[in-house]
Amino acid sequence: MPGIEYLLDALTPINVLLALGGVIAGTIIGSLPGLTATMAVAVLVPITFTMPPASALILMGAIYTGAIYGGAYAAILLNTPGTPSAIATTFDGFPMAKRGDGDLAVTLACLASVIGGLVGAAFLLMLAPPLADVALAFGPVEYFWLAVFGLTLISALSEGNLLKGLIGACFGLLLACVGVAEISADIRFTFGSQTLLGGIETVSALIGLYCIPVLIDLVATPDKHLKVTHQPRGFRFLESVAISWKHKLNLLRSSVVGTLVGILPGAGGSIAGLVAYSEARRSSKRSEHFGKGEPEGIQATESANNATVGGGFIPTLVLGIPGTPPDAVILGALLIQGVRTGPNLFTSEGSIVFTFIYGLFLATILMLPVGLIIGRYAYKTIITVPKAMLVPTVGFMTMIGTYAIRNSISDVVIMITLGVVGWVLNRFGYSPSPIVLGLILGSIAEQGFVQAWTIGAATEDLVGMFFGRPISLAIIALILLSLFYPLIRSRWLGGTRRKVRAD
């Protein structure tokens, strides 16, 4: 393990202040729907140009990790993922907030984010060079199967009606095809409309499908947004620690999943969160409670998405290939600083890299007090603000946040339209989550599928391409397990009960 001198370098007052400031700025930016972690890092990158490289990296890492966690607030309190990484946080976070446990959900998310962040940073510190090889082992077909694995979450999100979930996912996959095709550059499903030419931006679609239906329903009745208990309950920190300890395996597994998915270039926090959620649900004794306000769901997503921060830095620093979109921005900033990433970075620029990694640990630990305080404030604000102020504020934020993603009015129109579509579909039992899942995974699945098909056809080994590679086979096994595990488990439990009764 690298020496203590780097730890001391990371703990200089200026680095501690940068880590604290970065986490605060990142958490606030991440909590606003429409402002992603990528945007948070990109906007604040210019102020790092005059800093020493290690301090610049610490600031950017702190902003990044804070922004990923900040996305949980809006997900829990408004049913709108502040960043795409927090999609799966909405599944259980919002139901918890609706029943009056929003404060507990926010604290659980904070604890899980800190644990996930620490696990990701630990992998970065100790296993970066060997783990970077994993990124190189993933080809198009592995990405395709990974996307299919993410799609198996539909069975968990369909709330009892798998067919409606599958239809919704197909709708989402078709929406992902709108615009200019990535591989062949054909224009698809625009029907001559300039508005649709740029495609459907994922974050604006997320805001529309999750947030607009909530606003439509909020405005329609005088009922309060969230159930409020009038006894002061503080941070509910000890309760959260007890729950986290009880589900420590879930936290650890989700953190490792998040780190590994983070290593894969282009996969990112949203897929990490979805895969970890799917695995947590599959292995939980309370799987039937997932989607209805189960703390394990929040823990899985939040630990996984924060673990992608450390995981994403592995290929970024070792191979010069950004693991996640914010890593691409950070990589650019490093190049401007004159730091050459690559396999020799850990030996040639050890002082920069290891000081940064210890700084990432520091920022993640600072996220605990910062996250708890900001989370408490966010929760109190949401439950005390009158509806006549809350609804227009959130409505206005959705518009400005969506516009800011690509400086596009078309995106705002698409966001509102998708919101209405999502509300109508929800009325008829079609949940928005499978649509979102299809939309996010669509481009990854299509790109992987088409590239793998082309390579397979060229080598005249299509079957071998899709079913003959070891990593693909492992993911296929996980897909089958994820799909049929509930059936196997219910059969097994049924058999055990019959045996007990017979005894």
Binding site: L166, C170, L174, S184, A220, A388
Partner: protein, 161 residues
């Protein structure tokens, strides 16, 4: 205000089946659109998805006809439809006006309109004065953060060019 009146759950999920028919139409239109694409790389994936969507939608309809199940939608009793329509219309109109009147004016207008639709308490003198002032502060504050700090080129409108 007009309110929704929902009948108790029917024996069949009629709404779900109607939406399945809509999805079949969406998939059919998508399939037709893929015929205009020249490159197989462009149409293979969406065509496969559209066919799967038609198959799942037909399966849903058949399943509901064979084994009736109640509507599993989420209607809200006593909800106001005009307020819902007003919210969406206000947001769409404000977005359409944005290039002409600028972000600040359209933002103030949509904030005021939604505030009106979301207001269920009586308009006391305090609320009449404080709520619009706070609303204007939020709109202008967010505009300043996005336009000045984050350098997002928000529309200034033809009136101010």
């Amino acid at each position: 205000m007009q309110t929704d009146n929902h009948s108790p759950p029917a024996g069949r999920d009629v709404g779900g089946m109607v939406m399945a028919v809509v999805f079949i139409l969406v998939a059919a239109v998508s399939l037709w659109d893929t015929t205009t694409m020249a490159d197989a790389d462009s149409y293979v994936f969406p065509r496969a998805i559209a066919i799967a969507m038609i198959a799942f939608s037909i399966a849903l309809i058949v399943w509901n006809l064979v084994r009736p199940s109640p509507d599993d939608g989420s209607p809200v009793e006593g909800a106001s439809t005009p307020r819902r329509v007003g919210l969406v219309a206000a947001m769409l109109i404000a977005t359409a006006l944005m290039p002409y009147v600028g972000f600040v004016i359209s933002g103030l207008a949509v904030f005021a309109a939604i505030m009106g639709f979301a207001m269920y308490d009586p308009w006391t003198r305090f609320r009449v004065i404080v709520y619009p002032l706070v609303g204007a502060g939020i709109v202008v504050g967010f505009y300043a953060i996005f336009a000045e700090l984050l350098l997002v080129p928000l529309p200034t409108g033809l009136l101010f060019d």
